[in-house]
């Protein structure tokens, strides 16, 4: 769970920067930042489950 929180913090801080530097209205920046944050989490979950089923040991 702690690893997930660190990943979520990383996603949040990165999304803030992406949201701020993107061109457009403030509303667009907010929605873009939230979208990037959601994508970070979604990709992490998908990759996590893929790696879980891979016989890496």
């Amino acid at each position: 769970m702690r690893h997930f929180l660190w990943m979520a913090l990383f996603a949040a801080l990165t999304s803030v920067v992406f949201g701020v530097v993107v061109k457009g209205s403030d509303r667009h920046r907010l929605t873009y930042g939230l979208k990037v944050f959601g994508e970070f989490l979604a990709v992490a979950f998908i990759l996590g489950w893929i790696l879980y089923f891979l016989p890496l040991r």
Partner: protein, 140 residues
């Protein structure tokens, strides 16, 4: 035609934009604050500073090229060092005080820390370019 466009855009860049760019690199968030973009400056600065200090707290380490590195090893150190240098004075102060350059690979969060530190520098490069573009009038 492309050459003309590049020439025109370079010629129209005010000198102040370059200083803003340097300030934005040196102190994350300062480039926007100097242009009275308070909200953006605080958000960018807060994100980069926060990411940098969280990275240090998690046991991440900063990269530098030392005299012992040779051949391929130099590239392996130099590329992440370029990313770390993006943090500006934060990196330089750590370098002067020898803080954060010791590897703590035994810590569980070591790789997280490295990633936070690397990405903090890279994000500050983005923030620096944004501040530069605003100062140059290419962005609002």
């Amino acid at each position: 035609m492309v050459a003309k466009q590049i020439e025109r855009s370079t010629a129209s860049t005010p000198p102040r934009a370059w200083w803003i760019g340097v300030a934005a690199w040196a102190v994350p968030g300062l480039g926007h604050l100097l242009q009275k973009r308070w909200g953006r400056g605080l958000l960018l600065g807060g994100a980069v500073w926060g990411m940098f200090f969280v990275g240090l707290a998690l046991g991440g380490h900063l990269f530098r090229v030392s005299g012992n590195d040779q051949g391929f090893s130099i590239i392996l150190q130099a590329l992440p060092m370029v990313a770390n240098i993006g943090s500006g004075l934060l990196y330089i102060v750590c370098w002067l005080t020898n803080t954060g350059f010791v590897e703590q690979a035994q810590r569980v969060t070591y790789e997280y820390g490295n990633t936070f530190l690397l990405v903090a520098g890279l994000l500050n490069y983005l923030a620096m370019l944004d501040a530069f573009d605003i100062a140059a009038g290419r962005k609002r």
